[in-house]
């Protein structure tokens, strides 16, 4: 069990292949005709090509790269949403994907009911949610609105509720896709600060960001993805500088 205690996330030779149909097939007739003529061809698109790395407990790691470099796919695989075509991902501890605030929110239910639903989707028990409920409501600052159906919320209020739930549930591993505060100006400041505090609280963090300054400040290591492959792994400062140099040389 020795390694289990120290390694939180182990990504081994992960390859993700998507099949893209070259031509659109819009009807069954077309499908049958094309299949018979063997005209139905696909292009394999590799979003990730044998990516390997491991993240130790309490380590803060950034993932950088262009749009389409495979960052989101990698996050989805670590969060367990996507299954890689090849390779393995082992994750110890419960993951809070801050990529999707308020996943599974139901418009017809009240804010209070949605707290339970959303937390249960994250795999929490009733007793646990009971113990966190007041804290979540308090943090969200929604007050009496919490007993109103979600369909009457503004989008800012919804984001505040989602953020409050995700951050108050005390996850072991945080997956953050850009530190963007949510809600109005006041809540934005508060949520950005909370996010930074959480990242500094000794949890394992994976941060995807385009803000290299933030990465240098908040993370220990960085993984640079380029066209689905790991181009460099190492100290955040070094990798960020190399990445920036690469960007400017390519312009």
């Amino acid at each position: 069990m020795g390694t289990v205690d120290t390694v939180d996330i182990e990504v081994k030779n992960v390859t993700m292949k998507f099949r893209l149909a070259n031509e659109r097939v819009d009807s069954i007739k077309e499908f049958i005709v094309k299949t018979l003529k063997r005209h139905l061809d696909y292009t394999d698109f590799y979003a990730l090509k044998s990516v390997s790395f491991s993240i130790r407990k309490g380590e803060r790691v950034a993932i950088i790269g262009h749009n389409g470099a495979g960052k989101s796919t990698l996050l989805k695989i670590i969060a367990g949403v996507l299954k890689p075509t090849e390779g393995q991902v082992t994750v110890n501890g419960n993951v809070a994907p801050l990529l999707e605030l308020g996943a599974g929110f139901d418009q017809e239910l009240t804010g209070a009911e949605n707290i339970y639903l959303n937390a249960a989707i994250l795999g929490k028990s009733k007793a646990y949610i009971d113990s966190k409920y007041d804290e979540i409501v308090e943090y969200s600052g929604l007050g009496d609105f919490i007993h109103t159906p979600l369909k009457n919320y503004s989008s800012g209020m919804r984001a505040r509720l989602g953020f409050s739930i995700a951050t108050r549930l005390d996850p072991d591993i945080l997956i953050v896709d850009e530190i963007l505060g949510v809600g109005d100006e006041q809540f934005r400041k508060k949520s950005t600060q909370t996010m930074i505090n959480l990242m500094n609280s000794g949890k394992t963090v994976i941060l995807v960001s385009h803000n290299t300054e933030q990465i240098k400040e908040l993370t220990d290591r960085a993984i640079w993805l380029h066209k689905g492959e790991v181009k460099e792994i190492g100290d955040s400062h070094t990798v960020c500088d190399n990445y920036l140099a690469f960007l400017s040389s390519n312009q």
Binding site: V81, E100, G104, E108, A120, I121, G123
Partner: protein, 265 residues
């Protein structure tokens, strides 16, 4: 062997972790079904009774001589068939409808399908009150063998789970199945001897009953509730077999394909 064991233990642990979610999803389903309607959950009681009245008006004179206590006979078949039909029809779209969830976050996907079947089972359990009421009103004879009825209901539940998992999987890859299955259910409804006695089907067409899996459950349930006789060993065995085979196939097919769902929804 060791790794197999470990796999099942992990399954059980994951299931336990998500039981609260399962209960919330079922509650949500139940709450939503009658939301905004004036009579609410009472419709679960009223609906079968209205159906029964219509069928009585249409058919009871037709089969008057061959079926005594038509209301109880018909309800036994109607309610059980209805549970099978509504639970499988609702669950075949369960995975598709949960795409907003599956695309964003990991949850065991069968939880979604299972919650749909469970909420339909609750509606079914409520509608069974009708059967009890009608049995009291018509002073139907009840024997000790009525105790076998729950066994048939549990078997039917398991059977429906298997079919639902299978359908939910197929629907993700082949949406046309929704329309095909709708027609199939209507056909099945007419060959389940719900509102007519099974023996009016001519001998050479009797095979349609024996090819209809749902009919075995209806027959068994009717034996214990309506006829008040002990279950026939053959019938009970067939029901157990159907439930097991359906569940195993459903789970295997679902399990094998669930990682691909996200690429198709």
């Amino acid at each position: 062997m060791g790794s197999e064991m470990k796999k099942y233990i992990t399954y059980l642990k994951t299931f336990r972790r998500y039981t609260f979610l399962l209960s919330l999803l079922v509650k949500k389903d139940v709450k939503k079904k009658y939301k905004g309607s004036f009579l609410g959950i009472l419709w679960s009681l009223l609906n079968p009774l209205l159906h029964m009245l219509i069928l009585m008006l249409v058919f009871s004179t037709l089969f008057e001589t061959s079926i005594d206590n038509f209301p109880v006979y018909m309800l036994c078949g109607f309610l059980t068939f209805n549970f099978f039909a509504s639970s499988t029809m609702a669950s075949m779209n369960s995975v598709l409808h949960a795409s907003h969830l599956i695309n964003k976050i990991y949850i065991p996907k069968y939880i979604i399908t299972l919650s749909t079947i469970l909420s339909n089972f609750i509606f079914f359990a409520i509608s069974l009150i009708d059967l009890v009421l009608i049995m009291i009103v018509t002073k139907a004879d009840v024997t000790i063998h009525v105790l076998y009825a729950p066994i048939y209901l549990i078997l039917l539940f398991i059977f429906s789970c298997g079919i639902s998992l299978l359908l939910a999987t197929v629907t993700v890859f082949f949406r046309d199945i929704e329309h095909i299955y709708g027609v199939l259910i209507t056909a099945l409804h007419f060959v389940s001897a719900i509102f007519y006695p099974p023996d009016i089907i001519p001998d050479k067409y009797q095979f349609v009953l024996s090819y209809n899996p749902v009919y075995y459950f209806i027959e068994g349930f009717r034996n214990s509730v309506y006829l008040g006789v002990a279950p026939q060993a053959a019938n009970l065995l067939i029901c157990v077999g159907l439930a097991m085979v359906s569940l195993i196939i459903g789970v295997l097919v679902f399990e094998k394909n669930q990682d691909k769902f996200i690429l198709h929804i």
